[in-house]
């Protein structure tokens, strides 16, 4: 996801948080799926209570997937929250939700974006023309245009690793153990149990996208209660031109 777009922080600030729904996807969405093994439905549960904000996931994803510079397929948005005089840090790992009804797919004019039968939403970069309609359509800011390939880019759940029997890079290196990945079609999988037993939330449930990235420990009371503008600081356009001129060491 491109960090400059919509300040990213707005993603959480403006995001609603709500109960997950696990109703089946619309028939046409299911019909359009291709590739992958229909025996599985890959998903992730993120326990935000365990996230330590170290960004290991962010960097591991970059290294694993050769994500272009200054772009991110996943990142941990980090906020200082002060509530009734009590300050704390809120850390929200974000990535493609691999929705059951993904809004990025219908808008794709070339069919480059599609969903596999195992639920992973991918982009065929040999078909994508980089029109960015999908980037606009995603309510989670999970997509960006790869400035090297000029095609749409996003999290693939490390599909090349999952198919090799491995875990996504972000999950493998999650220091706090917050990211849990597995098969939602397997009732005995860890993710299935957590979804069944822990009442996880999803981001922006009102969009009807039915995310398959779930969150434990996300507090719905924060939704929609942004006090003023989130103060995203960003580097000046010509960063640090004065870095030396400004020194006045005694």
């Amino acid at each position: 996801m491109d960090q400059s777009r919509r300040n990213f922080c707005l993603g959480f600030g403006a995001a609603t948080v709500g109960a997950a729904t696990l109703s089946p996807a619309p028939a046409e969405a299911v019909a359009a799926r291709e590739g992958g093994d229909p025996a599985h439905r890959w998903g992730m549960v993120v326990d935000v209570r365990k996230c330590v904000g170290c960004q290991a996931c962010t960097v591991a994803c970059i290294m694993e997937n050769d994500v272009p510079e200054n772009s991110f397929r996943t990142i941990v948005s980090t906020y200082e929250v002060t509530e009734q005089g009590r300050s704390g840090t809120y850390m929200l790992p974000r990535l493609c939700n691999h929705c059951e009804d993904p809004p990025c797919i219908p808008v794709c004019p070339t069919g480059a974006t599609f969903q596999r039968e195992d639920g992973i939403v991918v982009v065929d970069n040999t078909v994508c023309v980089g029109c960015a309609y999908c980037v606009q359509a995603c309510p989670y800011d999970a997509r960006f245009i790869n400035h090297e390939t000029q095609t749409a880019d996003k999290c693939t759940f490390c599909v090349h690793r999952v198919e090799a029997g491995l875990l996504p890079a972000c999950v493998e290196t999650c220091v706090g153990g917050a990211r849990i990945f597995g098969d939602l079609k397997d009732p005995d999988s860890t993710v299935s149990k957590l979804v069944r037993e822990r009442d996880p939330k999803v981001l922006k449930p009102e969009q009807g996208t039915q995310p398959r990235v779930f969150y434990i420990g996300l507090d719905p009371k924060f939704q929609g209660k942004v006090d003023g503008t989130p103060t995203l600081w960003r580097p000046s356009p010509q960063p640090h031109a004065d870095a030396y001129a400004g020194k006045e060491n005694a």
Partner: protein, 1034 residues
């Protein structure tokens, strides 16, 4: 309910990609016409340029197929001082690291970690989707650990020996041959057209005193001094070279500008102010922990392990914890709810806070009396305790008595007669009171509790000596101020101090306090002593859920069990006074001479009898002023004191003057702020190219040694024999050129009497590995062929076979294949007690401290924990020199979760976190009309810097929070010219501000100085007085 939200910049991604996106989007129409491949074509239609997975595993049966052209090797990281064991995935054809994650055999990266005997093949399964093993078995690298591989291919790496062209620091270098390097460094001569320079050969004078009038300074060889950085597992070889072979006493590490004040205070509590033992909370089993001046998951060591454990403990475990710090960090994760909390505190006042807690504990009878009253280890064991302390031991408090401040001994009472050399030593028992008879007895006599509180006299021959128990002295010190006064000093409300004290004392042994870098203030030593003393009063040492010293390491470089890596024929025992003056002033020639004139105090500059080596003092009065003697040659190994010591930046110009130090040689893979001032730079290898034997700094209950071995072909130039140029061949070549003992053919003796060469890095490190393999009850098993095939160890197998004996190489391969040697996790505790226990007495009263004096004022230091506001060397309160009305702010340094002092070159980290805006409290900002993103000017008595502001609730009012790792002037911030080729210009590397460039000198000292803690001699970066103004809007 009002909810304020602010994005924490420290982890905000905010690169410059806006333009890229905007352009891409506006060109939608054109692209639709043009079709695909407006850009570069990646390898795979779906996975782009992601390389092939390192292996494939069948999720049904766990069968593994390795990927040809890649290896997964368990080795070590040096991205920060934690030194985790990692797994490195290498494209062997391109000699390129593809990705780094954790090694599942090591507690540094994994919880729970694999049993040591696990075959390497099984370790791969443990990381995979097979049976979902990889979820609980995941082994991680942190954000920095994932990114630091960029240092391998950095365009700023030094890969060939360099000699300066023009004056020092000019940024111009010429590559020279290795032989020329060795020849010039040893032989000296007119090396730079500036006149003759002594080389290491001429400077190795082991006989002639530096100063005949002060023979205690030692021989002239001490004028060759070496500053080192992160102890990355090669330091025993470096010490062998400098101290035991070359013969200089002057080898120093980075502790005095790292967490030295904490270690010093802890060392006082643990009874060893030189080695400075310390304990850490057993996070996995504790119920309540107060972190003071450290924040788990944000800082501390081991950084990543603590983060993993704290995350688990606050959700699945029993732990509640509170971070007491001027700055809010990720450690107070809001999502963890009541399990995690943050209490802001004024910088450098942790001692007031801790003494407030101690006072409350005394007042409310909430000290662990059963533990504290045991006079010796056996009595403690009989009482069911896991350790003991000297709370009951009597201290001589008779004013003017020659033994004032000393612990009363059996010989003082005439119970024993000992030779002078044994008097007051281990054979001379301490004295306690028998509570039944009130009679003094030797501390090691009773098998039951001794009197805890007492003040009175004991009769020694004909005289009565006033004595108190150590705990009585501590209580008196704690009661000196009331809770309100402690609260006023530290800014934490009195009821919060009391509440925390109540909570801390409500969990038996399963509660603890912990600290680290936040102690680096002008009161650091006593702050840390006070913090650690809370643990003593809780009686939690060696207990599961309490504090543990950890299992330590399998020592690789001692004498045996396979090779003598410590002793060798001709080994020099260095003598004299170290450059850091960390010896008693009262034993010096200077003292005697001054005393003869009637004015023994002040010394010319402070001495630190209870401290280990101090780079802080080396850099200032040592090197710049030549006190107590001038330095003739300075060696730097991956050290950067100019960047790392607050206030040391002002010595850069002095260092650049060859008259200050005639010869400066840096061994370093990069040109940093200090090595930029060298005459020569010797390229060192980095990260996964290097050998090294390391362990956990603390916090691991089991014994462990991480093996770092080269899983890459190093990118430095090769010597004729094919060896890469790096630290080891340089030292070996110097030693051979100088004909030093302990190097060259036959330099290493096997335990069986055979002799072996020390000619290469492998000669040393592989024999160290053999020692590690044979330590313990039985040697490690042999590596199987499969272990070797799966682990990538095949790369170094020829060296193993060529260097080691037939019965050794498979055992060392077993260790390398697993990235180290690790005691099994189940062996960490024996029931409720730690397996590896600190067996000596904790010191409620530390005699060495309580009998030491300030060499400036001649006044004694207190021997117990105490609250002491920051003072300069002559005892003047800092707040009297720099009054708060003139300097209303205080700077603090905070650790970065992403950037360490030498990782700014990693572009992926920079893009994630490009700068370190300075945290300003929201109320202060309102008053000064500062908004987030504004440019601000921070001035201290030591300098002024421009910075960017971030306005935060999570910063204590009156505090300016500066994250460490930015504000570089080198490491690529300035392009050097090497042999006519200019390095790339990457001005982003200079982003942000370095707090240390605002560090103070001590205005009460003459000559060069930096502000240090008066007892520990450690750098002050917490609580630097400052002014703040806005210079420009965002």
């Amino acid at each position: 309910m009002s909810i304020h939200r602010r994005l924490l910049l420290k982890t905000t991604a905010a690169g410059g990609a806006l333009a890229a996106f905007a352009a891409g989007f506006s060109e939608t129409g054109r692209k639709l016409v043009k079709g695909a491949w407006a850009g570069e074509k990646p390898e795979n239609a779906i996975s782009g340029n992601a390389p092939k997975p390192e292996f494939r595993i069948d999720p049904a049966n766990g069968d593994i197929v390795l990927t040809s052209g890649q290896i997964v090797a368990y080795t070590g990281c040096i991205g920060c001082t934690t030194l985790c064991g990692v797994r490195v995935r290498v494209d062997t054809e391109k000699n390129k690291v593809l990705r780094v994650a954790g090694n599942p055999y090591t507690p540094m990266s994994t919880d729970p970690f694999l049993p040591y005997g696990t075959p390497v093949r099984e370790s791969f399964k443990a990381l995979s989707r097979f049976q979902e093993k990889g979820l609980n078995g995941r082994s991680t690298a942190c954000g920095r650990g994932n990114a630091v591989l960029e240092n391998v291919t950095s365009p700023f790496r030094v890969t060939t020996p360099l000699k300066r062209v023009g004056p020092r620091g000019s940024g111009r270098w010429e590559p020279i041959a290795f032989d020329q390097l060795v020849s010039e460094v040893c032989g000296g001569g007119d090396l730079f057209g500036e006149g003759p320079v002594d080389g290491l050969a001429a400077l190795r004078d082991l006989k002639t005193p530096i100063d005949p009038a002060a023979p205690d300074l030692g021989p002239k060889v001490n004028q060759v001094a070496m500053i080192t950085g992160v102890p990355d597992g090669r330091e025993s070889l470096v010490q062998r070279f400098l101290q035991q072979a070359y013969g200089s006493i002057n080898y120093v590490g980075h502790g005095s500008y790292c967490g030295g004040a904490y270690r010093a205070g802890s060392g006082a509590a643990f009874g060893d102010t030189k080695q400075q033992p310390h304990a850490k909370p057993d996070i996995a089993n504790a119920e309540f922990v107060v972190f003071i001046g450290t924040a788990p998951s944000n800082a501390g060591n081991p950084f990543k392990r603590q983060a993993t454990l704290i995350s688990k403990a606050r959700t699945d475990g029993a732990l509640r914890y509170v971070v007491v710090d001027p700055v809010l960090t990720n450690a107070r994760a809001a999502a963890a709810g009541e399990r995690a909390d943050w209490i802001p505190i004024r910088p450098g006042t942790d001692g007031a806070f801790a003494m407030g807690i101690i006072r409350w504990m005394f007042e409310n009878g909430r000290i662990d009396e059963r533990y504290l009253s045991q006079p010796n280890g056996k009595a403690a064991e009989a009482a069911g305790e896991a350790g003991w302390c000297n709370a009951t031991h009597l201290v001589v408090v008779q004013k003017g008595h020659p033994r004032e401040g000393c612990l009363l001994r059996a010989s003082d009472l005439g119970w024993v007669t000992l030779d002078e050399k044994d008097r007051y030593g281990d054979k001379d028992a301490f004295v306690v009171l028998d509570p039944a008879t009130a009679a003094p007895v030797a501390h090691d006599a009773p098998m039951t509790a001794a009197t805890l509180f007492h003040q009175g006299t004991v009769t020694a021959g004909t005289e009565d000596i006033a004595v108190k128990t150590g705990l009585t002295l501590l209580r008196k010190e704690a009661m000196r101020l009331d809770l309100r006064a402690y609260s006023d000093a530290c800014g934490v409300p009195a009821d919060v101090i009391a509440g925390l004290a109540r909570e801390l004392t409500s969990h038996g042994k399963k509660a603890a306090v912990n600290s680290h870098g936040g102690m680096m203030s002008g009161s650091g030593f006593y702050n840390a002593f006070a913090v650690v003393t809370i643990n003593t009063l809780l009686g939690n040492l060696n207990w599961k859920g309490g504090t543990i010293v950890g299992g330590g390491r399998f020592p690789e470089s001692g004498d045996g069990p396979r090779y003598k890596l410590s002793s060798f024929p001709g080994r020099v025992k260095p003598s004299g006074i170290p450059l850091g003056r960390n010896v008693p002033y009262e034993k010096t020639s200077e003292f005697r001479a001054k005393k003869a004139t009637g004015k023994a105090y002040p010394a010319k500059a402070p001495w630190y009898p209870t401290a280990p080596g101090l780079t802080t003092e080396w850099m200032s009065s040592g090197i710049v002023d030549g006190y107590p003697y001038p330095v003739k040659a300075l060696l730097l190994w991956n050290a950067n004191p100019v960047y790392g010591i607050p206030g040391a930046h002002r010595f850069a110009q002095k260092l650049a003057d060859p008259k200050t130090v005639p010869l400066v040689v840096a061994i370093d893979p990069f040109i940093n702020e200090t090595s930029a001032l060298a005459d020569y730079i010797v390229p060192d290898t980095v990260l996964y190219e290097t050998w090294g034997w390391t362990s956990a700094w603390g916090g691991v209950p089991t014994k462990m040694t991480t093996a770092r071995w080269p899983v890459l072909v190093p990118r430095t130039d090769k010597l004729p024999g094919g060896q890469p140029i790096q630290l080891e061949p340089f030292l070996i070549a110097l030693a051979k050129r100088l004909d030093l003992p302990g190097f060259g053919p036959d330099a290493i003796e096997g335990m069986d009497g055979t002799r072996h060469p020390l000619e290469t890095a492998e000669d040393w490190h592989l024999r160290a590995g053999a020692n590690v393999a044979w330590l313990g009850k039985q040697p490690v098993p042999d590596a199987s062929d499969e272990d070797i095939a799966f682990s990538g160890v095949g790369r170094v197998l020829p060296a193993l076979k060529a260097t080691l004996k037939e019965e050794e190489w498979r055992k060392v391969a077993f260790i390398l294949a697993r990235g180290g040697r690790y005691q099994n996790q189940v062996e960490g505790f024996e029931g409720e007690k730690a397996t590896h226990r600190f067996a000596k007495a904790l010191q409620v009263y530390n005699e060495a401290v309580g009998t030491s004096k300030s060499s400036i004022t001649g006044r004694r230091w207190p021997g117990t924990a105490a609250w002491m506001p920051p003072v300069f060397a002559d005892g003047t309160l800092v707040s009297h020199v720099y009054r708060p009305e003139d300097w209303p702010f205080q700077l603090v340094s905070s650790k970065s979760v992403l950037v360490s002092a030498y990782t700014i070159g990693a572009t992926r980290l920079r893009h994630l976190h490009p700068e370190n805006p300075v945290g300003v409290n929201v109320e202060d900002a309102r008053r000064l009309d500062i908004q987030t993103g504004d440019r601000i000017r921070i001035a201290t008595p030591g300098g002024a810097e421009l910075a960017t502001a971030i306005v935060r609730h999570g910063v204590m009012p009156g505090v300016l929070a500066v994250e460490h790792g930015f504000g570089h002037k080198e490491f690529g911030a300035r392009a050097h010219v090497i042999g006519g080729r200019r390095q790339p210009d990457v001005p982003e590397i200079a982003a942000g501000v370095n707090l240390n460039d605002l560090g103070l000198a001590d205005p009460t000292r003459t000559g060069a100085s930096v502000w240090v803690d008066p007892v520990a001699g450690t750098a002050v970066r917490q609580g630097i007085p400052a002014k703040l103004e806005r210079t420009a809007a965002a």
